[in-house]
């Protein structure tokens, strides 16, 4: 058979690796900043710039570390390992370049638009529709390049790392497209196609599986390449790879509803989320076991080699968080953890430990090879390892404590049946924990800076190897499988079949959960007193979304005595039918707002948003002076009402043309009221008026219904 010559292009992995490091530092730096903001609200600088307030920066942090840091990490791994595992060059270096620059421009656009308040208000999918389209295009470019490479391979069977890359690619495409269905109202504003409960279900089906198919499965692929390489040991079990690959991708997709336990989501969907999470433990652990057992016989190397140390801790963190996750999906545990710092600790064990350490290990392994030299300093890498570990511990432990303390305070009742603690008591108690957590994060970031220096010195000492030549025989057309080969080898020879099977396997769970929620009416019982938002309230709601209030405030009261006593009647599915997007939130740094309407006076909200500590001493909420300066843009009302009606919100025919009259009337009333009752002079055209209108509306509809029933 004729041996062919070809070469591996190192330029793409180099670019992606540098981008990984760069965005890693930026993303984590923003993380540290927002961590300090929670303890010291003055750091929001919102008196000067609205762009840096926690509500706007937090999405920048999450998007930067997930899609920029880990995203580029995935692409580094794919562009380095894929050609080598398939004995071929990358299909098109032009597409590689488009992919690289396309992805980096998406990141820059994302950071800028998010800071300017252009957001869809759906966690981890905040980017507005033009960027969503751009992401889709670049993702397709990546897919074409990947499949072009796979189809021109010189290795007949696909290695397990590639199964994970394929499944991740197709699932992320599906998740992104389905969750991003939105109706544009302007260049940078759109409404989610789904509303309320349905929007929540789609969003967490997406959100959970963004964790699964962006942070987990591609990184398992990464592990399957770099860990055996670094340890120079064979992969422990091929059989285990098959079992855990298929079971993992099949089961993962179902688990989304565990983010919505005890909410207004129908019980059956919640239960599916719980049981599929429990069934996920072992498939996840399959990956951990295959990683750790591969090191059998190489443990003496682990003691010396910081790369392997990083991998061991990464895989262990993966094992811990994939056990913790299912435990958090049990209803009684979730009752404690949901909305609390526990969830924050949990995701950071995964993000800092698994994704972070896996990436660092890969980079330390990769840079010397790309630059044909030795790592500048093993000692510094080892210091990085210890700094990182200490950082994770100092991050996680305070968060666990804060979660439990606030839970015990939150649920404490006096014998008389009143709440023992005010919300502010709890906030004040957890602030010291926030400081400790920020210190932990800072230590982790210092470790990363040590790595940057180490890698920089390595690059300086070496010379970049642009291409590595290799040779292998071409694949012959005919192939007869050996008699003893197992059934799965057949799939490994057929990449398109693998792609289709993966899509089917991940599609099942999604369809079974989503379709009934959309079609079966009993799942969302209608409440007749729930009416669409007035134009002013709608505008106020958009400002609420813009400022990222949902990052700290939930709008979902769970059916627990301590929540109902504190916040009011528990939330019903029918209350959210006009909420495009839903704003249930996932973390309560501040109190729930589902029924804040009518609880305080307009002047209270006015003073509170201008300076939260004036109404709530000790509050850690940022102030929002920009709302008092900006005039409300009422030119958008028309298209907003129009878009809403298109999605089935029952505004009367032609309401678009009169909507602004109603808006002005309501605004004048609020402004006059403030002036008359409290001597507060504020123009009716200011944004604050719309925000007050929206806040005063929250949860009102169902109160009206109850009043109606009482009088009957």
């Amino acid at each position: 058979m004729q041996v062919e010559q070809f070469s591996y292009d190192n330029r793409a992995p180099k670019l992606f690796a540098i981008a990984t490091v760069f965005w890693g530092v930026i993303g984590m730096l923003i993380g540290v900043i927002i961590a300090f903001q929670l303890a010291f609200p003055i750091l929001n600088f919102s008196e000067y710039l609205p762009h840096l307030a926690f509500g706007r920066l937090r999405p920048v942090h999450t998007n930067a570390v997930i899609f920029a840091f880990v995203g580029n990490g995935i692409f580094t791994a794919v562009y380095y390992s894929l050609p080598r595992l398939l004995k071929t060059s990358m299909w098109s270096s032009k597409l590689s370049k488009i992919h690289f620059w396309g992805w980096q421009s998406i990141i820059v656009l994302a950071a800028v638009t998010l800071m300017f308040g252009f957001t869809t208000g759906k966690e981890y999918a905040e980017l507005e529709w033009p960027i969503d389209i751009l992401i889709t295009l670049i993702w397709v470019v990546f897919g074409i390049n990947m499949f072009g490479t796979i189809l021109t391979r010189r290795e007949r069977h696909l290695y397990v790392a590639i199964w994970f890359f394929i499944a991740s690619w197709v699932t992320v495409a599906m998740l992104h497209i389905v969750n991003s269905f939105e109706i544009p109202v302007s260049l940078f504003k759109s409404y989610s196609w789904y509303a309320g409960v349905q929007d929540a279900l789609v969003q967490w089906w997406y959100g959970h599986n963004a964790v699964a198919f962006f942070l987990t499965t591609p990184y398992l692929g990464l592990m399957y390449y770099f860990l055996p390489k670094a340890a120079d040991r064979p992969v422990y079990s091929y059989r285990l790879s098959i079992v855990h690959f298929w079971s993992l991708i099949f089961l993962y997709i179902w688990a989304g509803p565990h983010h919505l336990l005890y909410t207004a989501l129908p019980d059956w969907a919640q239960s599916l989320g719980t049981v599929f999470s429990i069934m996920l433990i072992l498939p996840s652990w399959g990956g951990m076991l295959n990683g750790l057992f591969t090191l059998r016989g190489a443990w003496d190397k682990v003691r010396e080699d910081p790369i392997l140390k990083f991998f061991v801790v990464a895989v262990t963190c993966y094992g811990m968080s994939t056990f913790e996750g299912p435990m958090l999906s049990l209803k009684n545990v979730n009752a404690i953890s949901h909305y609390s710092d526990w969830t924050v600790a949990h995701v950071h064990i995964g993000a800092l430990g698994w994704n972070g350490f896996m990436t660092f290990g890969m980079l330390y392994w990769l840079f010397p090879r790309l630059f044909n030299t030795k790592l500048y300093s093993t000692k510094l890498a080892s210091s990085h390892f210890w700094l990182g570990t200490l950082g994770i511990i100092l991050y996680a432990i305070p968060m666990y404590w804060s979660a439990f303390r606030s839970y015990f305070m939150m649920t404490a009742f006096t014998p008389e049946g009143t709440l023992e603690y005010q919300f502010m008591d709890i906030v004040q108690t957890v602030v010291p924990f926030y400081i400790m957590r920020a210190v932990g994060g800072t230590i982790f970031l210092i470790g990363v800076c040590v790595m940057v220096y180490n890698l920089y010195k390595t690059v300086q000492a070496g010379k970049f190897v642009e291409e590595e030549t290799a040779e292998a025989p071409a694949l012959s057309k005919e192939y007869i499988a050996p008699k003893n080969s197992i059934w799965h080898a057949f799939i490994e020879r057929k990449p398109i079949l693998l792609l289709v099977l993966s899509l089917i396997v991940v599609g099942i769970g999604g369809l079974i959960e989503l379709i009934p929620t959309f079609l079966v009416k009993e799942n969302i019982p209608t409440i007749s007193s729930v009416k669409p938002y007035t134009p002013l309230e709608l505008q106020g709601r958009d400002i609420y979304v813009r400022e990222g209030c949902y990052n700290c405030h939930s709008q979902m009261i769970r059916p627990f005595r301590y929540e109902v006593t504190r916040y009011g009647e528990y939330s019903k599915a029918g209350e959210f039918v006009y909420d495009h997007p839903f704003q249930w939130g996932s973390k309560r740094t501040g109190p729930d707002l589902a029924r804040v309407g009518g609880k305080y006076s307009d002047s209270w909200h006015f003073n509170h948003l201008l300076d939260p500590t004036s109404m709530v001493p000790g509050s850690i909420m940022p102030s929002y002076p920009n709302l008092f300066e900006n005039s409300l843009d009422i030119s958008s009302t028309r298209s907003k009402i129009h878009a809403m009606r298109k999605m089935g919100v029952p505004y009367v025919e032609n309401y678009e043309s009169t909507a602004n009259d109603d808006l002005q009337k309501q605004a004048n009333k609020i402004s006059e009221g403030l002036s008359k009752d409290n001597k507060i002079e504020i123009g009716a055209d200011k944004e604050i008026i719309a925000v007050i209108a929206y806040l005063q509306r929250l949860g009102r509809d169902i109160k009206l219904q109850n009043k109606g029933q009482a009088s009957n």
Binding site: R84, L85, K87, H157, Y159, Y224, Y225, P228, K229, P234, V235, Y238, R239, L240, S241, V243, S247, Y262, D267, S271, V275, I278, M279, I281, L282, L289, R296, G297, D300, R303, E304, K331, W386, I397, W401, P415, E416, G417, T418, L419, Y421, Q422, Q428, T429, V431, P432, F433, V439, P559, F560, R561, V564, K599, Y600, S601, D602, W604, M615, G618, N678
Partner: protein, 390 residues
Amino acid sequence: MIEKQNKIMKQLLINLKHWYLLALVFSCLAVTNTFAEDQATAVAATSTDGGFDFNIILFIVAVLLLLPVYVLSKTFILSFKMFMSKKSGKALKVIIAFALIIPSAHAEGSVFSSISSVIKTFDTASYLLLTVIVFELIVLAVLGLRSIGYMKGLHMTEEELKKDYESNSFSSLWDKINSFRPMEDEAAIDTGHSYDGIRELDNVTPPWFTTAFLFTIVFAGVYLWRYHVAQAAPLQIEEFNKEMAEAKKERELFLKDQSNNIDESSVVMMGQADIDAGKELFGTTCKPCHADHGGSMVGGVGPNLTDEYWLHGGSIVDVFKSIKYGWPEKGMISWKEQYTPKQMSQLTSFIMSIKGTNPPGAKEPQGEKYVEQSAPAATSAPPADSTAKK
């Protein structure tokens, strides 16, 4: 062999340093936290009296524990070195040193057990310090066991050592539950795959893995069956209703024989101590809208409570009711879920006590002038009395 062991030893010593570092960092954090906590509690107005003293004890324990850890680590190093050089002469000294440590570690243990009795006064710092202590105890245990292991090994031959390892219950159990095959047999289970030099073995999946996986699947089936088919377990709303009913019953039982069961029909002016208590409460939650003197301010959110004019009636019953149920449409929230009847009554008494104090910068009068009626059970503001106007 010796060389390799020495290398491991070195590594272990480095790790030891890290342990120390970690313990120290935690202790420092705990101390700084104690102060941060103090400030926080001042704002939160929740008393943690005694917590600080208790933390000092914990801190001393944590620091004291560092000593046995240090001594034991020295012992450990010594025993290890001797194990390597097999100079049995020094063994005695080691054992003596070791014997000295055990009782002291024991003493720490008894302190530890007494902690549980004061667990109620725990704050963040206590938890942190406790972690340090637990951590140190773990280090102690590990070091102790290791040292004993090495000392045992002093009198063994190479052959016996190998046997000892094999009979070591943990390592053999570990191999067994994972169905590990001896490393020498690796060639037999090589799949022959080689991807960019990465080989794959065909080890069986660990038996416990398969069993546990099947167990989770059975769990899933039983869970769904119980909740949705047999309906043997309560769904969330049912659970909620039960919780509320129980709470109501408990509350009623408590209030039955309680002197503080005060409501609008029984509220009366309380004594000076209670007025002061009310003043304190007022200074935390009512202050933002009514100012701490109760007179609100020009442009303030709430009305002036020191003048004779009232929006919702000025009798003690009216004031109590305003606090209890609130006037939501005016922005006065209901406090009945946050304050006990006694606290609301204290607040009422304080508000009644500040009438006519006329504080500087107070808000202009709102509402109607209220004149005290002789009838004690006035339920709402009486109509404006023309004779009362001057």
